[in-house]
Amino acid sequence: MSSDALKKRKSKVLRSDGGTPEMKRGRGEGDMQCVEVEQRRMQSCIHFMNLKKLNRLAHMRLKRGRDQTHEVIPTLLSNTVYEIFKEIPASVKSKHEEIDLVSEGEFYQEAPQEISRPHLTKNDPHQLTLARLDWELEQRKRLAEKYKESQASRETIQKSIEVKKEHLTSLQPGLNAIMQASLPVQEYLSMPFEQTQKQTEIARHLPPPLYVLFVQANAYGQACDKNLSVSISGDVDEAKALSKPPDDSQDDESDSDAEEEQEKTKRRRPTTGGQLDDKRREMLKRHPLSLCLDLKCKDGSILHLFFYYLMNLNILTVKTKVSTATDLNTAISAGELLKSDTLLSCLYTSDHGRETPNPANRYQFDKVGIVSFADYVEDLGHPYMWVQNLGGLHFPSDSSEVCTVSVGSSLSASHMESTMKLLRGRVQSRLALHKQFASLEHSIIPVSSECQHLFPAKIISRLARWTTISQQEYMDLQYTRHVSDAGLAKETDLYFMSVVERGTARLQAAVVLSPRYPEISPLFSLSLSWKGERSGRTDDNLRAMESEVNVFKNELQGPRPGHQLLTNQIARLCVCLDVYLETEGQDDGVEGPREFPREKMCLRTVRGPNRLKPFKYNHPQGFFSHR
């Protein structure tokens, strides 16, 4: 339309233009101008046509676009709507299904009618769900109420407990007063509850091994052995102070040592020797509390055992003391017998208590330069294996053990009875030996009435000397070589020299006494000086005499527990020397009477390929025969 208008206008313009310029100018110039104008007219028509065409194109394009979008938009819209609607049901669904509802069956059973409304809900799931939610709400309300109630009741009970506690604590001073008042009554009735209570109180501060020992020893004493008493001594306050900070473990110990060392070297430079000494002392420190066990024996003598716990080494040690009812006769040779050092040596085989039984201690010792525990044993006590056992401590030994190993109280209990018996036996035998030695030093061989039948009535050879000798002196003797070679002369044994004389004959007997006498019998080795030197090694008859006392010793035990073995052996030696000298063959080349006339009755004086003399005494006939 506009194009039409434009056309019209154009044509108007054209006409007008055409008219005007033609009239103005003349007819000549007017032709040239008419051609130009015609040309221009054509160009502008063409331009107008192009413009129209473009306009039309633009309109068409627009229309096409609109149509397209009109087609697409509804689908897009429906898609998004669909998406949205898809989300909604899910979120709406999970919200109420999060709640744990009771199952339907239960719901119908439990819920009251007004909530469950079965006639409605059975058919309508929506109503059902609603009803179930209702029921859930009901229940929750009820439980919340119950909770509040229980809280309240708890509070009240708590309060009443408090009140009662106060009441009890108020009783305590009253009770104490009563206890105090009852002390004299206790003493009168000899039921020392107070004392035992005190002990138990202190016992709480004992280190575990001493505690085990305390408990077990007490129990054993009460149950089986009235002559055993246990007491605790030492500083309780120190013990309390020790138990407050946590126990130093081995690593801490070394760490703190290292720290200390560093610190010390920074601050000042003390001598390294002093430092080491301090460390050693620290390592070997004893727990402030110790146990004292008193074993009373039948004859009134008491064995006091003092048990100590070395905290850093985790071992127990023991020191001993013997007190006798009557003063012991001083016998020089008996000096070693009751010494604390050797009294309990080898109570059990090869338990000599000179080294620590705890293998871990080796590493600790290396750190502080302790070579051997034996150096400290005198001061700290002996760490015998049986002491560790009584304290419930068990350390693995070098040899692999196949048997099951118990620890703690059961270990202690299993060893208690046998150890106590051995301890008593040991003290008794030592005291018996002490008495015997006193006698022997006076050249008297005490033979009890029960053992008289072992020997003939008349014994002419007599004991001239009884002395102790050192192990080195024993090993230096020629005629004891075979004993040392057989490993029967140990460091823990005691050595003695006895001399038996008759006329010009002198019999030397070197004796090895084991600490476990009389379980292990003393071993004699003989050497005779008479018309030359002979010993048990060169003379078969002297060897036979050694057999008489060493091998056939069971006859010489005497009444149980066999403490008279040693003196009986010496008596037998005297008898054998008598026989030896009296049955010696007469030397036909020498003139003169026999030095030792025959007095012993013998059936035969010589027998067998090595021509042995009759050393066996037969009672009551009183004659000598061969074995």
Partner: protein, 323 residues
């Protein structure tokens, strides 16, 4: 046997098995131990091989004499003789085949039996012991068929002179008696201590050691060990050994003797002491040569110790067996 018993043990007798592979030894506790020589002599022998394969108590008293026949081991205890089968012993079965007691007159003390020897001529066992008599046991019939009386003190050793059918015995009374085995009569009696060349009055007169080799006899004890020519009944050599000898043997051209002293003496027939080889026991009671086996040809000696020395080469001690 504890260590103390071992310390006081003495070995008195030894005997090799007929096959030569085992050695039986008797000690003063009445035990007999059987050692396996083949095991002990093998190149890979250990300490355990030097211990007995079997030890058992054979008699109440010491076992002073052991003797092997072709199949049996005969042992002498306190007045009794037991026979064991070597086969059974190798299987560790220790039941004796039989035990016999000679007739002893006195019953107060049972006399010991010091020496036994087989008389091959009539398969009899000649037994000498503490009752001063020699008893002859017929091994076939198992009965004591004769008693030779004559010694005035107990008999230490017996020997047999096969060619002349004679039995020789040496006793505590210092006499060496020669008996005719058939008649039982004493044909000669030599009192060695009366010969000045041999006599050692400082020791005594007893004869504890006696062995014969056809015309020759070795005897010693209190008197020195001496070699006698039996035809002429005179001593030809006297051996200057210090102690009293308890056993001697002829070996090739030498004489081996043991007794007091911790050594084996090697002597030449002429009377020289060629060597004295040291041993473990301080004095020796028994000496045996294993002639039954060529591969285990050893000399073993035992005495006042629980060790028995074994010599593979006579010049030195190879090792020791021990109870």
């Amino acid at each position: 046997m504890g260590p103390i018993e071992l310390l006081h043990m003495s070995v008195f007798s030894q005997s090799f098995s007929p096959c030569g592979r085992f050695l039986a030894a008797g000690n003063n506790y009445g035990e007999i131990a059987v050692f396996s020589l083949s095991a002990a002599l093998s190149p890979d022998a250990t300490a355990a091989n030097q211990k007995p394969v079997l030890t058992f108590t054979a008699h109440e008293g010491p076992v002073f004499s052991l003797l092997s026949t072709d199949v049996h081991l005969l042992s002498a205890g306190n007045g009794e003789i037991s026979a064991w089968s070597w086969n059974e012993l190798s299987k560790k079965n220790v039941k004796p085949l039989w035990t016999k007691r000679p007739n002893y007159k006195s019953s107060l003390e049972i006399p010991e039996i010091n020496s036994m020897i087989i008389n091959p001529r009539d398969n009899s066992l000649v037994v000498g012991g503490g009752d001063n008599n020699i008893h002859i046991l017929d091994l076939e019939h198992g009965v004591f068929k004769n008693v030779l009386q004559g010694h005035s003190d107990y008999i230490h050793c017996v020997s047999v002179r096969d060619r002349e059918a004679e039995i020789l015995s040496g006793g505590e009374d210092g006499a060496v008696r020669m008996w005719d085995s058939r008649s039982g009569q004493c044909v000669h009696c030599i009192e060695v201590y009366k010969y000045e060349s041999c006599a050692r009055p400082q020791f005594g007169k007893w004869i504890s050691c006696l062995t014969t080799d056809s015309d020759w006899m070795l005897c010693g004890g209190g008197p020195s060990l001496s070699l006698w020519h039996l035809r002429s009944l005179s001593p030809t050599s006297v051996f200057p050994l210090s102690g009293c000898q308890r056993q001697a043997a002829f070996y090739q051209d030498k004489i081996l003797a043991v007794g007091e002293g911790a050594f084996v003496s090697h002597c030449l027939l002429g009377g020289e002491v060629k060597a004295q080889i040291p041993c473990t026991p301080q004095s020796l009671n028994t000496l045996q040569l294993n002639t039954n086996s060529t591969e285990h040809r050893v000399l073993t000696v035992g005495g006042s110790s629980d060790h028995i020395d074994v010599f593979t080469n006579l010049s030195y001690r190879a090792f020791s067996l021990s109870f």
